[in-house]
């Protein structure tokens, strides 16, 4: 019997992806064939990668070194439980997304499809390689190929000015981030950077407090540029609506989490000894990001833009959990750190599934109804019943309703918060409950945003689109797959936590109590425990009984009335609650934050434009400063050759005089 090592399996899968991308480039002349052939195969390969991830959780860490472009710069790969977990995330999501893409891209013209197939697979390859990289050189090459491939995917519709702008902003922030990561690695690797900066040399890097803090801040900045944390999130709300739905699903579900993977590896494994202030810092950034993201998600009118802001919120929540883990770790409370970290990883996986599902669903709506602007949709539940059902599941999951998966991870996070009085430092243990209430606020507002998302687009009456068609078979199967994943993760959290055990063991040296049966008990049964299956059964029974009761008393005879008519005969669908109207309470309460401009046009339509305070407050002044500086530099550039010669002449003279 040939035993297949996880690293061989993973690298093999990545090579297959590359091969599929290249064959997509060749087969682009026959679009239908290419779609039917390449994407389902890509989905199979993703399953292979998932298998590699699962085996990596239990196998011993493995290394592979290949000759690089220079003798001293090898390509170096490794697989350990941490990368295994993220490979599972990437593989499962990519599996569903590729199925969806089979149907979604079938109408794309040949040349565009050709490019897309190559870039799509290079993007997947880049993400996989980031997870497998074992030195700074390989990591950064993979990181940049991931960024570039996703840039090209964002500008798929490159003839549109919006896409170009979104792409440029994304590329700019991505490069700033990559630069910071590179500098961080240089500090961490020290002298070994000339050998490509092997990760094994960075483990518990011997740095003093100042350099450790610098490395931490640089890498945190770099990874948060990709993760979309405040104030580096501005590319996200533009890039996601511009990209095709499967790409948005991958970017939001997997790429953001890969940035989180980078933070985990650097902070827990490389830096090792954590300073006291890092945890609170990350937690504050995360909390601000979560609140900011959800507040802006609630006022969006474009489905994909709303989801993009919601991704920012979810990354914020993951960062809160991560920050909490850093705090506990810095105080030596490894068991509690394991709980917080488990919540973060769990939420990362959940987010990949429900956000992937929602992005795919909005792609279906875009294809079916021709628009994702919520003030043109409405009543899609009648026209696309199956898509609407899957979207309902996704919406409930992201809103954090039990027994779906969003609730489980958020519950774990709150459990970790409730244990913060165990901290020896009294100020922190006093402030943390406040942060917990902030998290609860964000979660509640997320539910509000999701009610809007589903209610406006799928319920009520159709506003403009009356002839929408249901999504195709491939799309529906992909959404069904992700829905099943959401339900499974919601009902059996213990299974996942047992899988996380080796990851936590690797990161903290301490795992999580092994979960038994249907109960989820983070600390002890006396303290708190949660059983989604029993909850689900109880809820279903209660709902069923009350339905039967109401139906038997008031349900006869059956009447059908227009939805949301409130008893009045609605004259036009425009009289329903509009996406902006739904968000009015928030717009009023947080008016200074939104800087909304209201104006009525000649047709009597009332328009509200939401500003982006971070863009106005930070980026525009920065932009002005850069322009001012360039104008100053431009004075040097007069276009006269003699003047340029004079510059070099004077430089030469000064250098000569100094050198003497």
């Amino acid at each position: 019997m040939i035993s297949c090592l996880p690293l061989d399996l993973a690298t093999g899968a990545l090579l297959l992806w590359l091969g599929l991308g290249l064959s997509g480039l060749l087969l682009g002349g026959w679009p239908t064939l290419a779609c039917r052939l390449v994407f389902p195969l890509s989905s199979m390969v993703a399953l292979l990668l998932t298998t590699a991830g699962f085996t990596a959780l239990t196998a011993t860490p493995d290394h592979l070194q290949l000759r690089g472009p220079l003798p001293a710069l090898p390509w170096s790969f490794q697989i350990d439980p941490l990368s295994g977990f993220f490979l599972i995330l990437l593989g499962l999501l990519a599996c569903a997304v590729a199925l969806f893409a089979t149907g979604y891209f079938r109408s794309l013209p040949g040349p565009a499809l050709r490019r897309l197939m190559l870039q799509y697979h290079v993007f997947l390859l880049g993400m996989g390689l980031v997870l497998l990289a074992a030195n700074a050189f390989t990591f950064l090459v993979a990181w940049e190929s991931m960024a570039l491939a996703s840039y090209f995917l964002v500008v798929t519709e490159h003839e549109k000015a919006d896409s170009q702008r979104a792409g440029f902003l994304y590329l700019l922030i991505a490069h700033l981030g990559a630069l910071a990561i590179l500098l961080g690695f240089v500090i961490l690797a020290g002298a070994t950077i000339s050998q490509g900066g092997p990760f094994s040399a960075m483990l518990h890097a011997p740095l003093n407090a100042f350099w450790a803090a610098t490395a931490f801040l640089l890498t945190f900045f770099g990874f948060s540029a990709k993760a979309g944390l405040l104030p580096l999130h501005i590319w996200l709300p533009d890039a996601h609506p511009a990209a095709p739905a499967p790409v948005s699903a991958l970017m939001s579900g997997a790429m953001l989490q890969i940035a989180f993977y980078g933070m985990l590896r650097v902070d827990f494994l490389f830096l090792g000894k954590l300073a006291m202030w890092w945890g609170p810092f990350v937690l504050m950034v995360g909390l601000a990001t979560a609140l900011f993201g959800v507040l802006f998600a609630a006022v969006q009118t474009d489905m994909k833009r709303l989801l993009a802001y919601s991704s920012i919120e979810n990354m914020g929540l993951i960062m809160v959990a991560f920050g909490l883990a850093l705090i506990f770790r810095a105080h030596g409370l490894n068991a509690l750190a394991a709980l917080a970290l488990a919540a973060a990883l769990y939420h990362a996986l959940n987010h990949a599934f429900f956000k992937g599902l929602l992005f795919l669903g909005s792609g279906s709506v875009l294809h079916g109804a021709g628009s994702v602007a919520m003030d043109r949709l409405g009543g899609m539940i009648r026209q696309m019943p199956q898509t609407a059902f899957f979207m309902l599941l996704g919406t409930l999951a992201i809103a954090g309703l039990p027994p779906l998966n969003g609730f489980a991870s958020e519950w774990l996070l709150l459990q970790a918060f409730l244990l913060s009085p165990a901290l020896p430092q009294s100020t922190l243990s006093a402030v943390l409950p406040l942060a917990a209430s902030g998290v609860v606020l964000a979660v509640a507002l997320a539910a509000y945003a999701m009610v809007k998302f589903y209610g406006i687009a799928f319920l009520g009456q159709a506003r403009g689109t009356r002839h929408a068609h249901e999504a195709g078979r491939w799309e529906r199967s992909a959404m069904a797959l992700l829905s099943v994943a959401c339900i499974f993760l919601g009902l059996f959290p213990g299974v996942l936590l047992n899988l996380l055990h080796p990851v936590l063991q690797e990161m903290l040296g301490q795992g999580f109590a092994i979960q038994q049966g249907l109960w989820l008990t983070p600390v002890s049964a006396q303290r708190a425990s949660y059983s989604p299956v029993i909850f689900f059964l109880g809820m279903a029974t209660a709902l069923g009984l009350s339905f039967l009761l109401i139906w038997s008393f008031f349900g006869r005879p059956l009447r059908r009335v227009p939805a949301w008519a409130c008893g009045f005969p609605i004259r036009t669908p425009a009289m329903q609650d509009s996406p902006m109207g739904f968000a009015q309470p928030l717009l009023r309460i947080f008016a200074p934050l939104y800087q909304a401009e209201r104006q009525a046009n000649d047709a009597g339509r009332w328009r509200v434009r939401i500003g982006e305070p971070v863009y106005r407050g930070i980026y525009q002044p920065l932009n002005r400063i850069v322009f001012w500086l360039s104008a100053q530099v431009l004075r040097l550039q007069q276009g006269r050759i003699t003047l340029y010669l004079l510059y070099s002449f004077l430089t030469l003279l000064i250098l000569l005089a100094l050198w003497r």
């Binding site: 550039q637 006269r640 003699t642 002449f649 005089a657």
Partner: protein, 225 residues
């Protein structure tokens, strides 16, 4: 490099004379208004250089320096000036070189540069033997003066002449101060100068196509705002 006693008595003063000639020629170039004369001066500079190299070859007995001297003579004293001459005729550039700075002021600046060059070369001179004392200073001064000429001229051709004069100065520094340098280095430098020359030649024609003039002022309008 050993030099015979007889060589010391007449060879070194001759080399010094050549160095002084080089500096004088560079000053003449700095003061010259007419393009044609500028090219002639460049040719003369090449001759002096070739003579200097030949003299060093004679004094030290290095056979490859003879080859180097021949190369210098053909390339720098004959070939390049001839080509420049032809360029001048084909491009029909006439008239004087318009200087950015007036000539007396340029010459004064040149004197200051020579003093600066000697000041710079003092530590090197202290290290070298008595034989080549002063050579490094003169060569450095020639380089700086040629650079100054590039700065103060407006016509593109005079920039090329300045560029070639810089190369001459460097070359002189190499041969006279150290009494000969490896052939490889020399070939490399010669190739460098030749390529620079070719590029600038193409640039001339482009410039003429575009602006119908050799005046560098026209280039000011193509900068990016």
């Amino acid at each position: 490099m050993t030099i015979t006693a007889q060589g010391l008595t007449w060879g070194i003063p001759l080399l010094r004379l050549l160095a002084a000639l080089l500096l004088l020629l560079t000053f003449a170039m700095l003061a010259q208004r007419r393009l044609l004369t500028l090219i002639h001066l460049l040719a003369w500079q090449g001759m002096v250089l070739a003579a200097g190299t030949a003299l060093v070859a004679l004094l030290t007995g290095q056979s490859e320096l003879w080859f180097s001297a021949a190369l210098t003579l053909t390339l720098k004293a004959i070939l390049i000036p001839t080509v420049l001459h032809r360029l001048l005729r084909r491009l029909q550039v006439r008239g004087d070189v318009e200087a950015v700075l007036n000539i007396p002021l340029t010459l004064l600046a040149g004197i200051a540069l020579v003093i600066f060059a000697f000041f710079l070369a003092a530590p090197i001179t202290a290290l070298t033997g008595t034989v080549t004392r002063g050579m490094v200073g003169i060569a450095l001064a020639a380089v700086l003066l040629a650079f100054l000429m590039m700065i103060t001229r407006r016509k593109a051709i005079s920039q090329v002449v300045g560029f070639l004069a810089i190369d001459n100065g460097l070359f002189f520094a190499a041969t006279s101060a150290t009494l000969g340098m490896p052939m490889v280095v020399e070939l490399g430098v010669a190739l460098d100068a030749l390529i620079g020359f070719v590029i600038l030649g193409i640039f001339f024609f482009q410039m003429r196509e575009t602006f119908d003039s050799m005046d560098l002022q026209h280039l000011e309008q193509i900068r990016e705002e």
